[in-house]
Symmetry: C2
DNA sequence: TTGAAAGCGATACCAT
DNA sequence: ATGGTATCGCTTTCAA
């Protein structure tokens, strides 16, 4: 009776360049030269052929980790991500970024934060020796963390967010501007008692906080009341909020984004309020759905960098970390008046 | 005059375990033992301390690639992704999956297809020696590709899609069921001339095709006309389609999902058609927005596996590739009648 | 309890 | 035109 387990017939080890070399009757060096088309080294055509055939026959696939160990650097771009429900705008951006990075031959590694603190996270990231880290802001980045990453070989550490992090390239994505635009529009139309929706969904604070702040700054010094308003993604929550809005006599609400705006507007209308007659509602992100609502939703259009653009920046910094430093502008915002205000 | 370039002041090399060993006055082996808390080896407390301090002082971070090279396996789960606008449901699923995998200590690598064919892609993936590949269906997977991946060390190759791939674990995510549910509901309500929206956005065919097919199969053998309808995510496209729907006298439309349904419904209403009086509209995915529309949108609720669930399956297969094989069910669907039909 | 040394797979220098 | 070989950073027997 055989003692070997029956199923796995051979469990062949993965073929290495040494196997290819053996089969082709050449050295490992030659295999490397041929397979990587090193121009500085001339290999005779017959040899090339034998090597190629051997590789083919064994279905040889080079081992990326071994390669980058030897090379001393990876092509990994690390993208810390959070487990939170972002808007469609953000998703599109992330997709674009990944695509563009891949096209530049980087390997995108998503790394979920898992509730580590900033320095633990930086350490975990550093283990992968990423050539670049692009933090969209979900997990904070400390100067210490940036330093650690750079010392572990990261040539570009880029953060998107309101606050520049020392040592990192910071792309200003100032969400306050969104709030400012919204408030500017509402004030111009004469509203004076403005609610600002702050989603209860966790993880959105990094957007909602600055947007609220932006409204406040636009209202500062004028005879205007600004009230933060909690809203979750459910009809019940919206219903409760609609009641509150009416009781407090708010004449306008900046609803964080178009999706929350839709939710709130429906609740207001169901409660018998006229929009914008009794209460104006303003969204943000300029989603298609805003144009489909009645009244059409006034919103804030956000010009976000394209993923393509950011990927190019990453690549530029990777190639020349000492290049033009610092602080790039990134986000434009602009009110789009429609019928809900 | 110094010949070294002026700027990078020290460009300290990344500290290795050898550096730690040197600083602590011990061997590399000891460093490894201490830092990895190997229970089989007893190291004196003073030594442990010295090693830990040395590591701390140098800000030593182990090199993941070197480690997995030595170990002979990675913890990489490869997630092929496409550059296409998926619905929110799908995004949520993907996020969950990543989160859950990370929690199980896997490293998630997103790999954009870049228009390679199936075998090129498989080869590129194999270079990373992923321990698992989870293909959500964007890039096809051939038996040959699966074989290559397995031979390069992948212990789990999992595909979500209608067609089982030989050699891979296939999780049936049969989108036809969605179409069947929708059609079932519409037929039950007596509609007989049914349009089915097929989004023009590229990359969605992998969903839209099966959904259409599902409608057809439900209608087969009955006195029902089924017509595919092209729709893009713009108001103009919707307007044109609304006209078409009325001209052709369709009495119901299954609009692919709630977002397209919203778009079409608005166009129909703007064109003066009553919903559902003149034309019924049905969505899918049971998004919140469907409940906010008037009339409330009838839809198809989709029970998709949670990312958590799939991550666990991945982990199970990785640990025991010879385990219960094959074909797991995955998706349930169920019509939710509301007011638009 | 600790250290010496053999690899893991690929590459690049230096010989031949 | 090729081959030998040191090396990247780490883990893990095997000895001491």
């Amino acid at each position: 009776m055989s003692q070997t387990p029956p199923r796995p017939p051979a469990e062949r080890p993965v073929p290495t360049s040494a196997d290819v070399a053996r089969l082709a009757g050449v050295s490992r060096a030659t295999v490397s030269y041929v397979l990587n088309d090193i121009p500085a080294v001339r290999i005779s055509e017959p040899t090339r052929l034998r090597v190629r055939q051997a590789a083919e026959e064994l279905a040889y696939v080079p081992h990326a980790a071994a390669r980058s160990l030897r090379a001393g650097r990876t092509r990994i771009v690390l993208l810390p991500t959070a487990h939170i429900p972002m808007g469609p705008l953000y998703h599109r951006f992330l997709n674009e970024l990944q695509w563009a990075l891949r096209r530049l031959d980087y390997t995108v590694v998503q790394y979920a934060g898992m509730g580590m603190d900033a320095d633990e996270a930086a350490r975990a990231w550093a283990e992968l020796r990423p050539v670049a880290v692009v933090s969209l802001g979900e997990t904070a980045l400390t100067p210490h963390g940036v330093d650690l990453l750079k010392r572990s070989g990261a040539r570009a550490v880029i953060t998107l967010g309101p606050h520049p992090v020392p040592g990192a390239h910071t792309l200003a994505m100032d969400q306050r501007e969104v709030g400012r635009c919204a408030a500017g529009h509402l004030l111009e139309r004469g509203y004076r008692h403005i609610g600002v929706v702050v989603p209860t969904e966790p993880g959105l604070d990094m957007f909602s906080g600055p947007r609220l702040e932006g409204v406040r700054s636009a209202a500062a010094g004028r005879d205007v009341v600004v009230e933060p308003l909690s809203l979750g993604q459910t009809e019940e929550s919206a219903e409760a909020l609609a009641r509150q809005v009416r009781e407090r006599g708010l004449d306008a609400v900046f609803a964080y984004n178009d999706e929350y705006a839709m939710l709130l507007m429906r609740a207001l209308q169901d409660a018998g309020a006229a929009v914008p007659g009794d209460t104006a509602v303003m969204g943000a992100d300029d989603l298609l759905l805003g144009r489909l609502l009645r009244p059409r939703l006034s919103t804030v259009e956000i010009d976000m960098t394209t993923g393509q653009h950011l990927a190019e920046l990453v690549d530029r910094v990777v190639r020349d970390p000492a290049g033009p430093p610092g602080h790039h502008g990134l986000m434009g915002a602009r009110a789009i008046p429609r019928d809900s205000t």
